[in-house]
Amino acid sequence: MDVVAKSIIRVKGLSKKFEEVQAVDSVDFSICEGELFGFLGPNGAGKTTTINMLTGLARPDKGSIRIQGIDCSANPKAAQHLMGIVPDESNLYPELTGYENLAFCGALYGMKRQSRESRARQLLEQFGLADAANRKFARYSKGMKRKLTIAAGIVHSPPILFLDEPTTGIDVASARQIRQLIYDLNAGGTTIFLTTHYIEEAERLCRRIAFIVSGKIVRTDTTDNLMRLTEGRHIVQFALSKDIEGLASAMEKEFPGIKCRELIGATVRIESGKPIFIGPFVKFMEDRGAEVSEARKIRPSLEDVFVEITGIEAHAMKGEKEKGDNSK
C-alpha cells in the first residue's frame, strides 16, 4: 500500500517565529487517515502554534501543509470544513446554554436547524451532559466545560479532529472520561491530532507520537516501536534518607555501563542493559551516609524513552504549572 496516498495531513518544513522565539522549527510529519497521532512536549514546545498553523489561526513563515490533498499554506480557509478544533481553553459562549452552544457551533458549519438540534441533543447525551443541557455554559464546572468544548468540536462530525491538551487542568475523573471519549471517537474513524504534555496520556492513547522540544521534532515513531526501545532494559529505583551531592556521576564512574539519574525527593534511578543486583549499589550509597529505605524494580515506560531521547526530565513535564481554565 502506498503510504502517501493514505495520509490525510502532510506537513513539510513548517516554521514559525514570534519576534525572537522560533516557536516551530522546520517540522515535518504526516498523519494517516484514522490515526490517533500525538504531539508530546513540554509547555512552550510549539504544540499550540503548530495546531494554529494547521487550522488557519496562524500563518506559517515557511513550509507546506496539505490536508486531504488541499494546499492549506496557500489558502488556510480551504480545509476548515474538514476540521474540528478543540482549543486548550474552553472558548464557548458563557451566556449560552450547553445546548445553544452546540447548536450554534453546528450552524457555523452550515448544519441545518433540524440536524444540528438533534446532533446537539445526541452529543449532550453521549457526553453525560444531558442534565446540564439548559444550564448556561458559565455555570459549568471545568470538567464539564472541557467536555462540552470537545462536543462542540465534533458537532459537524469532522473527519479530522485537533485536540490541544484536552485533559490539562481538569480533575482526574473527567480526564479519564475524556480519554475514553477520544478513544471511542478514533475507533469510530475520526483522525485525531492530539497534543499533550502528559507522557502517560500519549502512551495510552496515541498510535504514533512525535516528541517536540523547542519547536523541533526530535523523534516520530509508533508507540509500539518507542516502547520496544525499553526492551531488555532494567531499571531499579532507590529511595534514600537524604540527597547525596554528585551521587549520579559518582555511581556511573564506579559502575561502568549503568546510567544513573537523581530524581526529586532523594530518589535515585539506575538503568542498565543487564539485570541489576542491588547489593553493591546499596553499599555504595550507605558508605556515603544515606540510608536506603527502598529498592524497587521499575517497568520501563515511555517516560524513560522520552527522557533518553529529549534529555528532558519527566518531572519537568509533570511539574508544569497547570494553566487554569480562563473562560468566564
Binding site: 514570534f18 494554529n52 487550522t55 488557519g56 489561526l57 496562524a58 500563518r59 488556510p76 480557509k77 476548515q80 470544513h81 476540521m83 478544533i85 482549543p87 481553553e89 472558548n91 464557548l92 459562549y93 458563557p94 451566556e95 449560552l96 450554534f104 457551533c105 450552524a107 457555523l108 458549519y109 452550515g110 448544519m111 441545518k112 462542540a152 480562563n326 473562560s327 468566564k328
Partner: protein, 245 residues
C-alpha cells in the same frame, strides 16, 4: 447555502445575546429620547425648530446605537477567545464580519427612528424627503458601524475600544455640521470635517428634513459608500494582520 446558515446564526445569536438584552434595548430607546428632549428644550424656539434639530438628533442616535456594542460583540469576544471559533469556521472573513456588524447596523437604524417617531407627534413631517432620508440613515448606520468595527479590531482591550470610539464619536458631533454649519468652524478644523463620513450623511439629513444641504446629493452618497468600503476593507486587513498571527 451553508454560509447563509452561519451568517443568520451569528446575527441571531448577537441579537439575542446583546441587542435584545433589556439594558441595551432601554439604552437604545432612552438615549435617543433624552437627546431629542434635551435639544428640543434647549433650543427654546418652539415646535417650528424641530426639523432643524432632527438631523443632529437622528445622527447622534445612529452613531451611538451602532458603535456602543461593537466593543462587546467584537473586542470582548476576541479577548474571551470565542472569536477564534468564528475565525475557524468555514466561512469567508468578509461574510463573518458582515454577520458580526449587521446587528449593529440594524440597531442603529432602529434607534434613528426613535426621534423621528417622537417628532411626528409634535410637528408636521409631511415635508420630509423619505426617499433620501431612509438610504441616508442606512448608510450613516453602515459607515459608523464600520468606523466602530475599525476601532474594535485595532485594539485588544474593551476599555481601549470604548475610549477610542468616544475619542471619535464626540468630536464628530461638533465637526460634522450637525448643529452648526461647517462654514462656522475655525479654518484648521475644516479638513477634519471632510474626513468624517458623518459630514456627508449629515448633509443628506439636512436636505431630507429641510432642503438645506450644502453639497450635491450624489456626491454625499458617493462619499458615504466610499467610506463604508474603505473602512470595511481596512478592518479586514487589520484582522488578517493582527488576529491571524
Amino acid at each position: 447555502m451553508k454560509s447563509n446558515t452561519a451568517f443568520w446564526s451569528i446575527l441571531l445569536k448577537d441579537t439575542r445575546s446583546y441587542y435584545l438584552k433589556p439594558p441595551n434595548i432601554s439604552w437604545g430607546i432612552i438615549f435617543p429620547l433624552a437627546w431629542t428632549g434635551m435639544f428640543f428644550m434647549r433650543s427654546g424656539q418652539g415646535l417650528d425648530s424641530i426639523p432643524g434639530l432632527l438631523p443632529g438628533v437622528v445622527a447622534i442616535s445612529v452613531l451611538f446605537g451602532t458603535t456602543s456594542l461593537l466593543s462587546v460583540t467584537i473586542t470582548f469576544e476576541k479577548k474571551g477567545r470565542s472569536f477564534e471559533r468564528l475565525l475557524l469556521a468555514p466561512i469567508s472573513l468578509e461574510l463573518l464580519m458582515l454577520a458580526k456588524t449587521t446587528g449593529a447596523i440594524i440597531f442603529g437604524i432602529v434607534n434613528a427612528f426613535v426621534p423621528v417617531i417622537m417628532a411626528a407627534f409634535f410637528t408636521d413631517l409631511s415635508g420630509v424627503n423619505w426617499i433620501t432620508l431612509i438610504p441616508a440613515i442606512v448608510l450613516i448606520a453602515i459607515s459608523s458601524t464600520f468606523l466602530g468595527l475599525f476601532v474594535a479590531v485595532s485594539v485588544s482591550e474593551v476599555f481601549e475600544a470604548q475610549t477610542f470610539s468616544n475619542f471619535i464619536r464626540f468630536p464628530m458631533l461638533f465637526l460634522c455640521g450637525l448643529f452648526f454649519p461647517i462654514e462656522q468652524l475655525p479654518v484648521f478644523l475644516k479638513p477634519l470635517s471632510y474626513i468624517m463620513p458623518l459630514t456627508y450623511g449629515a448633509d443628506i439629513l439636512h436636505f431630507s428634513f429641510q432642503r438645506a444641504g450644502h453639497m450635491p446629493l450624489a456626491f454625499n452618497f458617493f462619499m458615504l459608500i466610499a467610506f463604508c468600503t474603505i473602512l470595511f476593507q481596512m478592518s479586514l486587513r487589520n484582522i488578517r494582520r493582527n488576529w491571524i498571527l
